[in-house]
């Protein structure tokens, strides 16, 4: 990596320059993104951060001269190596894509052609851009590329099909394809979102090394601030189709000045456990419904009258730190700390105990001799990577997966394996909140009908149902106006609140939360975590919190169980597991989990 250590006086060439980019919806003429300005120099990584719907992917795609159907570039310009994209003919654009600007997709499982061998996919890419070369040269090039992404490059591996690779390997093949033609610019669209932390750490390292060693300018689109902190040199924060803050990484993370960035950072779980996550109330406005003035003003604590009049022009701070906020100079510059973390609760009697549980999927033995206990008013987290069996465990406990041996005891009584064979009382006591709120609510039933049915099943009589539904909604901080809404009229966070309200309507003693925040944005995740914490404090509810996100549980769980390959490798109080992990696997997991703090201290 000799080229990476250039003398600082020599400014590398600007590879990507975006000026005042505006992309409109063709149908309504409303802008999806507007006034986008950024530049990326060779060898530099720009992190483009934003929550879903902020327009970050739209901007990323635009760098390749591509607009999703329904969108159209209506203003501004994009220069790649100093040449405007708008002036290029179709053929030229085609050569540009993959050759000069390449793309790493979010989901390699769908981006790779399942019917083609790895070698064929890579050679197609080379042929398209480098023209016909001899088969030997091509083979050598493919081997070199695979070696760069730390994949085996023997003939056996080259003959494999995508389905014969793990998720991380697939993503590295996609990265190899992106780097194969030595592009000048690379657009990464959340390439690690579907991966486990261990795999993610390796993939991030690969991307970082390749960008530096080949002097590639990278735009890394992501919603994950911790990942961006690990990887990026400069960061641009997007909100509702605008860049609200842009600057060097350290400035953005250590001295954020835009209120949105500050709130976003407060919503990121903190592994050190120094502060509790805080959500951001409200929604980001959609195209066509954005207010005049600053788009964040309706959700901003610092908003003044001026904020509602015109969108603020950037104020520049040292180091090229640009902030679109009228009050940027007044805002305190360091990241707020404090906020109360979870006080260790007074745990009571044992509510749930699982003894010698062995779970099977067909003939596969997926859970090995699991023991666990959840006490009253206690939150126990089960942490594990995908395939560790944590969801299967949760489903065994709730009676949704009946193929197991061993005992699941509720208040000392052994429960039948399947939910259908359990007593109504047992079903009432254990309530399950699903991972994906987009699938766990019946789209053809209103929120009111969904909750009323639960009350009817478990709440006894039918009187006052309307009033009690409203009470249930109130407990999850939804207004009574939600009663007549269908799930498709709600945001993801609102849907998850409804799912929680449905579970609480049964007045359970144990709430199983299966990855309840993994489908949600970080600010919404924080709000849901806050809600669960408050509910616990109010009602003394016990919780079994299933997650892959280590940082998230630091502030909510009392005890942690770490699972891998169907066994529990470590269990103990949250603080001790985080600070003095005993199992090797836990140590590895902790080391691989990206955090903003760790990235800044490096």
């Amino acid at each position: 990596m000799a080229t990476a250590e250039r003398p600082p006086a020599e400014q590398p060439a600007t590879a990507v320059q975006v000026r005042d980019l505006k992309i409109d919806l063709v149908s309504s003429g409303n802008d999806i993104v507007d006034a986008i300005a950024m530049e990326v120099r060779a060898g530099e990584v720009l992190g483009l951060v934003g929550e879903s719907g902020s327009g970050k992917t739209t901007v990323g795609m635009a760098l390749m001269g591509y607009c999703r159907p329904g969108g159209k570039v209506t203003g501004g310009e994009i220069l790649i190596d100093g040449r405007p994209l708008a002036a290029m003919a179709a053929g030229e654009l085609r050569r540009l894509r993959g050759g000069t600007v390449s793309y790493i997709p979010q989901d390699p499982g769908t981006a790779l052609n399942p019917a083609l061998r790895i070698a064929v996919q890579l050679s197609e890419m080379l042929e398209a851009h480098k023209g016909q070369t001899s088969a030997e040269d091509q083979k050598a090039r493919i081997r070199e590329t695979l070696e760069e992404v730390a994949l085996p490059n023997d003939d056996e591996f080259l003959r494999r099909y995508p389905h014969q690779l793990s998720g991380g390997q697939q993503q590295r093949v996609a990265i190899a394809m992106a780097f194969a033609c030595r592009p000048h610019v690379i657009v990464c669209d959340e390439p690690t979102t579907g991966l486990d932390v261990t795999t993610q750490a390796r993939v991030l390292e690969t991307v970082r090394d390749l960008c530096h060693s080949h002097r590639v300018a990278a735009v890394y689109v992501s919603h994950d601030l911790a990942v961006v902190a690990e990887l990026a040199d400069t960061v641009a924060v997007m909100y509702a189709g605008r860049i609200v803050e842009r600057g060097p990484r350290d400035a953005i993370f250590a001295t954020p000045r835009h209120p949105y960035t500050r709130k976003l950072l407060r919503a990121v779980p903190d592994m050190a456990g120094k502060r509790a996550v805080v959500g951001i109330g409200g929604h980001a406005p959609l195209p066509g419904n954005r207010p005049t003035g600053c788009f964040f003003a309706p959700r901003c604590d610092l908003a003044i009258d001026r904020c509602r009049e015109a969108f603020p022009l950037p104020t520049e701070f040292e180091g090229g730190h640009l902030v679109h906020c009228y009050r940027a100079e007044e805002a305190p510059s360091e990241l707020p700390t404090g906020g109360e973390t979870q006080a260790p609760a007074q745990a009571g009697d044992v509510v749930l105990s699982v003894e010698h549980l062995n779970g099977h999927y067909g003939s596969a033995h997926v859970l090995h001799d699991i023991d666990l206990e959840v006490r009253r008013n206690e939150c126990v987290a089960v942490v594990g990577e995908s395939g560790s069996g944590k969801t299967t465990l949760a489903r065994c406990i709730s009676g949704l997966h009946a193929n197991y041996t061993g005992d699941v005891k509720l208040g000392g009584d052994r429960l039948a394996e399947s939910a259908r064979k359990r007593s109504s009382q047992a079903r009432k006591q254990i309530q399950y909140v699903f991972q994906n709120p987009y699938a766990s609510l019946n789209p053809r039933r209103t929120v009111g009908q969904t909750i009323a049915r639960q009350l009817q099943l478990f709440g006894g009589g039918r009187r006052d149902t309307g009033k009690r539904v409203a009470e249930c909604l109130e407990r999850v901080a939804l207004s009574a106006a939600a009663v007549n809404r269908y799930p498709d009229q709600l945001s993801g966070g609102e849907r998850q609140r409804v799912a929680i309200a449905r579970a609480l309507a049964a007045e359970p003693s144990l709430l199983i939360c299966d990855e309840v925040t993994s489908a949600l944005d970080v600010s919404v995740q924080a709000a849901i975590v806050e809600l669960l914490r408050d509910l616990r404090a109010e009602t003394g509810l016990s919780m079994l919190f299933i997650t892959h996100n280590l940082a998230l549980i630091r502030t909510i769980a009392d005890r942690v169980l770490v699972m891998t390959q169907g066994t529990i490798v470590e269990s103990g109080a949250t603080v001790s597991v985080f600070e003095t992990p005993s199992a090797e696997y836990t140590t590895k997991l902790l080391a691989n989990t990206p955090t903003v703090e760790a990235a800044l201290n490096r």
Binding site: N289, R299, A439, N442, P443, Q489, A506
Partner: protein, 303 residues
């Protein structure tokens, strides 16, 4: 597509700013998207016109359908607008009377077939395993016979009656409907809200009809339209072949059979019912097709 959208202003999350939700109730959106297509509009006009002719036709008939008013196979004249049929009855009057039976029997058969197919399809999709296998293999056996052959077989074995025809046609639709509905419902069964219902111990019947059924209404509607089209054709064919309704009943299928020998001399006795049957099936097919297209565009699994 300029569908009118309702705006939901009131925030439902605390501190929410209110979000414009560009969605109405799914059904309204679906209907409006259907009606934005020319095929559906044309289909609707044709279908409604033919249903009107079939239902209200007898009110406008100048003669009784069984009355002899003119010479057999006589060309159009002042007493018979479209001439006389093979026995000298008024073709126009018989045409106006002849739609009710076709339409009524078709609708009844379609309702029976779709209801039965729906119940079988949903049950098979939800129960899976052995139940699924048994139900679908029985369906396969029924589907191995072409519908018309099955109908002819049963109608020659048993004395023909309106109820029997309706039942046979309905039964022959059921396995075809079941197969489509099973396919649609299998995707719904996989979703978490069904698991949620199981976790709280909802009775199976409620899961099938309360959770699954509302989520397969789009394919169900398409199936209904399609099966109605086939019913019309099938019932007309049964009557034409002479194993269905018997003379002197006025019926479009029967009319074609009665007048086909004289088609070169007096074409109206065949032409009128043929045109009517064609329009009825084309109309309902266009309408169904428009709905199916709208459903594909809009109904992406309710998300």
């Amino acid at each position: 597509m300029s569908t009118p959208a309702i705006t939901i202003e009131d925030p439902i999350e605390p501190g929410g700013v209110g979000q414009e939700v560009m969605r109405q109730r799914q059904w309204k959106v679906l209907l409006s998207a259907t009606m934005h297509q020319w095929r559906s509009r044309i289909g609707l006009v044709i279908f409604v016109a033919m249903v009107f002719v079939a239902l209200a036709g007898p009110l406008f008939a100048p003669h009784s359908p069984t009355q002899f008013v003119t010479a057999p196979n006589s060309p159009p004249s002042s007493e018979a607008l479209f001439g006389g049929d093979n026995l000298g009855r008024d073709v126009w009057s018989r045409f106006l009377y002849g739609g009710r039976s076709v339409l009524g029997m078709s609708v009844a058969a379609t309702i029976i077939g779709v209801t039965l197919g729906l119940a079988v399809g949903l049950t098979a999709a939800y129960m899976s395993g052995v139940t699924d296998e048994v139900l679908m293999r029985i369906s396969d056996v029924f589907m191995a016979f072409p519908q018309i052959v099955l109908a002819l077989l049963l109608l020659t074995a048993f004395p023909s009656s309106v109820i029997l025809i309706v039942l046979i046609v309905g039964l022959s639709h059921a396995p075809r409907v079941a197969r489509v509905i099973r396919g649609a419902a299998q995707q719904v069964v996989e979703r978490d809200f069904v698991k949620a219902a199981e976790a709280v111990g909802e009775p199976r019947r409620r899961i099938i009809f309360g959770e699954l059924l509302p989520n397969v209404t789009s394919p169900l509607t398409v199936e209904f339209g399609l099966r109605l089209t086939y019913s019309v054709g099938l019932i007309a064919a049964i009557n034409f072949l002479g194993v269905g309704l018997q003379p002197p009943k006025a019926d479009w299928g029967l009319m074609i059979n009665e007048n086909r020998l004289a088609v070169t001399v007096q074409p109206w006795g065949v032409l009128l019912p043929v045109i009517a049957l064609a329009l009825l099936t084309i109309g309902s097919n266009l309408l169904t097709d428009g709905f199916a297209r709208a459903a594909i565009g809009i109904d992406r699994g309710g998300e």
